[in-house]
């Protein structure tokens, strides 16, 4: 018997790795988390990149974080502090604008300036989507079913899922099938007529994928983004006080409270194998640490082709991994501002407290995708802007602001190859500023600092393969029992005692925590689910 230093070693201190560590530690396991960078959180980090200004460097809003994880780990006690986004603002180049508010009556008012019919459909649409959200929720809150298994409990859970799916009124059933197969735009076309409404809504379907809003299958991703819930309210998004890193820190504090040990600046070089099983890790400094089990919070490519090595993998698994698509398609620009930006189409700040979408039309978005298909970043990209300092003054000096811009498309496979991204970086940043300046004429004058992150930077600095923010595209063929590859969607891997707990495992990416928590439950031999149970066959009364 070899000596064990730990029950489990977690490779990667991203939010999922930390969640997994916290659950294991809570169950009494001796756990060590190893993070390569000096800060915890992976892509969910806050960093004071320029003095006085704290950027949510990558992930910038919180919504999918599972409520049962928040409760299980008592995260509010350890620093989780979320402020909801109040609105979605769409400035238009012709001087018009539309703001959708948490106040339904106000939203109807705004939308009816574009289409009275759409204004009326808004409520019905929200209701339909929240019903769908309820349908999907048990799926993301439990391990993916294994359709190839004859194990009676597997069959039962498949049966439940089937009944869960089929046990609905015909219109709901139809809606579900459409969501699984249609493009985001086609799906929205069934509800709405105004471009100005459909365009900003459709972008939820493409975030983090290398697809266009008219590509089939994107309707589902739309739903994935509609499922965000805060305080039980579907479709709500929030800012973490002090930036998104605060979520990771809260999870880390919980993990430490339960007894986990966490080391930063402790890069892992490889996962140590003996006789086909994982027995520990070797750090870049040569230290060897032993554990009964090893868990990776990193993406599947880095985990298996990096830390394990292709030669140790079964052929079919390796082939599956090679087919698994990352195709990073987005970048990030973070700005420190001397004062509030002034949108020429609508003065004031009330409408800037939520998110701001540069998505004036569906053709605009599709054109942005066209350029990316041929290896260029969009000359006029889709940009999702937030100014968290408006609701959380702790991230900027009084009167000053931080502005976070999520930018799509920025294809990993840029002309000249991914490694040429550093040469394009400033031009990419300029494009984003130029695009925004068309709506915010004073923008260039108020920028105090800018940070530009390309997909290449996301890969090099944050370890996201090909810069994909979700550890692999969230498309139907890469979800549920096929994430990351068919047959290995239950957090186990072909390497014994090596587990996968990151966003590359079911149910996928986003600041959700579910892969980490469900992986821990699988390791502990507990029921692999959280939240209220899926309704028994027969459904609701």
């Amino acid at each position: 018997m070899s000596r064990h230093d730990y029950d489990a070693i977690l490779v990667g201190g991203g939010h999922n790795g930390l969640v997994c560590a916290a659950y294991l530690a809570k169950a009494g396991k001796k756990v060590l988390v190893l993070e390569r960078r000096h800060v915890l959180g992976g892509a969910a980090v806050s960093e004071e990149v320029t003095p006085g200004f704290t950027y949510s460097v990558c992930s910038y809003v919180v919504s999918l974080l599972r409520p049962w994880i928040i409760r299980d780990l008592q995260l509010p006690r350890f620093g989780l502090d979320l402020v909801p986004l109040e609105s979605s603002f769409l400035p238009l180049p012709d001087g018009r604008s539309m703001c959708r508010w948490s106040d339904a009556e106000l939203s109807r008012e705004e939308v009816s300036a574009f289409s009275r019919r759409d204004a009326e459909a808004l409520d019905e649409f929200s209701r339909a989507m929240s019903l769908i959200g309820r349908f999907v929720r048990p799926i993301i809150d439990s391990a993916a079913p294994d359709p190839t298994s004859w194990n009676p409990s597997e069959l039962l859970s498949l049966l439940r899922l089937g009944r869960h799916f089929a046990d609905a009124q015909v219109d709901q059933m139809e809606l579900r099938l459409k969501l699984l197969t249609m493009s985001a735009v086609d799906f929205l076309d069934e509800w709405f007529e105004a471009e100005e409404l459909k365009a900003p809504m459709s972008v939820s379907g493409i975030i983090g994928t290398f697809l266009g809003v008219r590509s089939p299958g994107t309707a589902y991703v739309l739903l994935h983004h509609y499922m965000g819930e805060i305080d039980g309210a579907f479709r709500s998004w929030g800012f973490q006080k002090g930036g998104t890193g605060g979520v990771s820190n809260a999870i880390a504090n919980a993990a430490r409270h339960f007894g986990a040990e966490i080391r930063t600046e402790a890069p892992v070089e490889r996962i140590l194998l003996r006789g086909g099983r994982a027995v520990g890790v070797v750090l870049e400094n040569g230290d060897e640490l032993r554990a009964k089990q090893v868990v990776s919070g990193c993406d599947p490519r880095r985990t298996f082709l990096g830390f394990v090595g292709a030669e140790h993998l079964p052929d079919d698994f390796r082939a599956g991994l090679e087919r698994y698509r990352f195709r990073g398609s987005s970048g990030k620009v973070n700005l420190a501002l001397d004062r509030l930006p002034e949108f020429s189409c609508r003065p004031g700040a009330a409408h800037l407290r939520g998110d701001i979408a540069i998505a004036p039309s569906i053709d605009y978005l599709e054109r942005a995708y066209d350029e990316a298909k041929y290896g260029r970043f969009s000359r006029r990209p889709y940009i999702n802007v937030v100014i968290p300092s408006l609701v959380d003054p702790s991230v900027a000096p009084p009167g000053k602001h931080v502005m976070s811009c999520f930018v799509q498309y920025a294809p990993y496979e840029i002309e000249g190859g991914p490694a040429s991204w550093p040469e394009h970086r400033e031009a990419f940043g300029d494009t984003v500023i130029d695009t925004l300046a068309e709506y915010v004429p004073n923008l260039r004058d108020i920028i105090l600092h800018r940070q530009v992150l390309t997909p290449w930077d996301l890969e090099q600095e944050f370890g996201l393969a090909e810069g994909n923010i979700f550890h692999g595209e969230l498309t139907l063929d890469q979800l549920a029992f096929q994430r990351p590859t068919a047959g290995w969607a239950r957090y186990r891997t072909p390497i014994r005692d090596l587990w996968l707990a990151g966003s590359g495992a079911h149910p996928g990416g986003g600041l959700m925590g579910a892969p980490g928590a469900l992986c821990a439950k699988a390791m502990l031999g507990e029921a692999v689910s959280g939240g209220p149970p899926m309704p028994a066959p027969g459904g609701a009364r």
């Binding site: 409520p67 049962w68 928040i70 409760r71 995260l75 509010p76 006690r77 989780l80 502090d81 979320l82 402020v83 909801p84 109040e86 948490s102 106040d103 009556e105 106000l106 929240s130 309820r134 305080d231 039980g232 579907f234 006080k241 407290r353 408006l390 609701v391 959380d392 003054p393 702790s394 009084p398 009167g399 939240g531 209220p532 149970p533 309704p535 459904g539 609701a540 009364r541």
Partner: protein
């Protein structure tokens, strides 16, 4: 009909929801907007200013001013230092709580009492034989509650650096700088939100100018005007009882069981028994010796149960954003052991909280109870755990 406070011209202008309610005979804003969320989050992350003018205020002056308040309330104010503020309750002769409020020692011979209900008559009746004068300043002094983590930064330019020295539950005279002129008033580090916060006390004439100055100075700090709905959620998080909601004043109670003692309300810490006679002393002595029958407790309702009850009907769990003040029964193993009074979802703690009264033997933190939950007009029970209050107690509340 309620009367306007001195701030009404502005609050009325800002209150786009037009949602007002009556508070101690005054118009008070419930929320300025359709929803109160923005005000709530401003309170917990930025700063807010609320019109607290409707509070009843009494100036007690004279050589025996402190003796009067020591005689009337459960604390010995003869020993209160100048510049201190104390939270206190007062009882009838049977030791049943009449009201609660604060006492500020402005000078050796000047104390100010605030209360939820009128108290002039009670003070005057009990002042017999004492060298004191009581003045009702309820309608001449305005109160502005400036609360939230940024409240100190908002106040600094208005009252000066001294604000940094003002400790928790202390008072200081202040000169409010209003564009070239100065206005005299008082600042106390008090509030009803459980957060860092201050209350400003000024004459009615100058209240609006100070309110406007706060709105202006507060802008870079994200200060918002706040109404009673957001206050009602924050005070549950802070575990503060509200007279008329979480307990009935002995004066308003129709039957004995509606009354409460200080020990039942968790005010044990403020009751100072061994001193010169005060109203209710004998009864409270007996109560302390025997122990209270009931206890006010904090409760956290099991969200899993609450969710499951809704799931049974095919519904997602849903709660109103406002504090619910409708009492519901509490059970232990199916037997009713008390009732919950205020219930609120805490957006900060992500927990469904309640204040309630239970049999004293069931008041220990961790005790498992059940609470009645109604869904689709059907009654169910969800688990609830007794928790220590305050539920929410940030360090900044007391910190320098």
């Amino acid at each position: 009909m309620p009367r306007p406070t001195p701030l009404h011209p502005r609050t009325h202008e800002l209150c786009t929801s037009l949602l007002f309610k009556e508070w101690a005979g005054c118009h008070a804003v419930r929320r300025f907007d359709t929803y109160h969320d923005r005000e709530y989050y401003a309170l917990r992350h930025q700063a807010t200013v609320m019109d607290a003018t409707p509070l009843y205020k009494y100036e007690v002056r004279g050589p025996q001013a402190a003796e009067l308040l020591a005689r009337v309330t459960v604390r010995d104010f003869t020993r209160q230092a100048i510049g201190r503020v104390s939270y206190v309750c007062w009882c009838d002769e049977h030791g049943k709580v009449l009201d609660d409020g604060t006492v500020t020692r402005l000078a050796q011979d000047h104390l100010r009492l605030t209360s939820a209900d009128p108290a002039l008559r009670w003070l005057e009746i009990n002042a017999r034989g004492l060298d004191v004068e009581v003045e009702d300043t309820s309608r001449s002094i305005a109160a502005l509650a400036v609360q939230g983590p940024r409240s100190r930064d908002v106040l600094r330019p208005l009252v000066g650096e001294e604000i940094d020295e003002l400790a928790f539950f202390r008072a200081m005279p202040a000169r409010f700088a209003l564009g070239g002129r100065e206005v005299e008033g008082l600042v106390t580090r008090t509030g009803y939100t459980g957060d860092l916060g201050y209350e400003l006390w000024v004459g009615n004439d100058e209240a609006l100018a100070i309110y406007d100055a706060l709105l202006e100075q507060g802008r870079p700090h994200g200060l918002l005007p706040m109404g009673l709905d957001a206050l009602d959620v924050s005070r549950v998080e802070a575990g503060f009882v509200l007279a008329g909601v979480d307990y009935t004043s002995a004066r308003g109670a129709l039957i004995e069981r509606q009354k409460s003692t200080p020990f039942e309300l968790g005010f044990d810490w403020m009751v100072q028994l061994e001193r010169a006679p005060f109203i209710g002393q004998e009864a409270l002595r007996a109560e302390k010796a025997a122990g209270p029958r009931r206890r006010l407790v904090g409760l956290e309702i099991d969200w899993e149960d609450f969710e499951a009850i809704h799931e049974e009907f095919g519904l997602a769990p849903h709660l109103a954003a406002e504090t619910c003040r409708e009492g519901v029964p509490l059970y232990e193993h199916g037997r009713q052991v008390g009732y919950a009074t205020s219930r609120a979802w805490s957006p900060t703690l992500k927990a469904y909280l309640a204040l309630g009264h239970v049999e004293a033997s069931l008041a220990a933190p961790g005790t498992r109870l059940e609470i009645e939950v109604t869904c689709e007009y059907e009654r169910r029970r969800a688990g609830a755990t007794v928790r220590k209050t305050p539920f929410f107690d940030p360090e900044r509340k007391r910190a320098r």
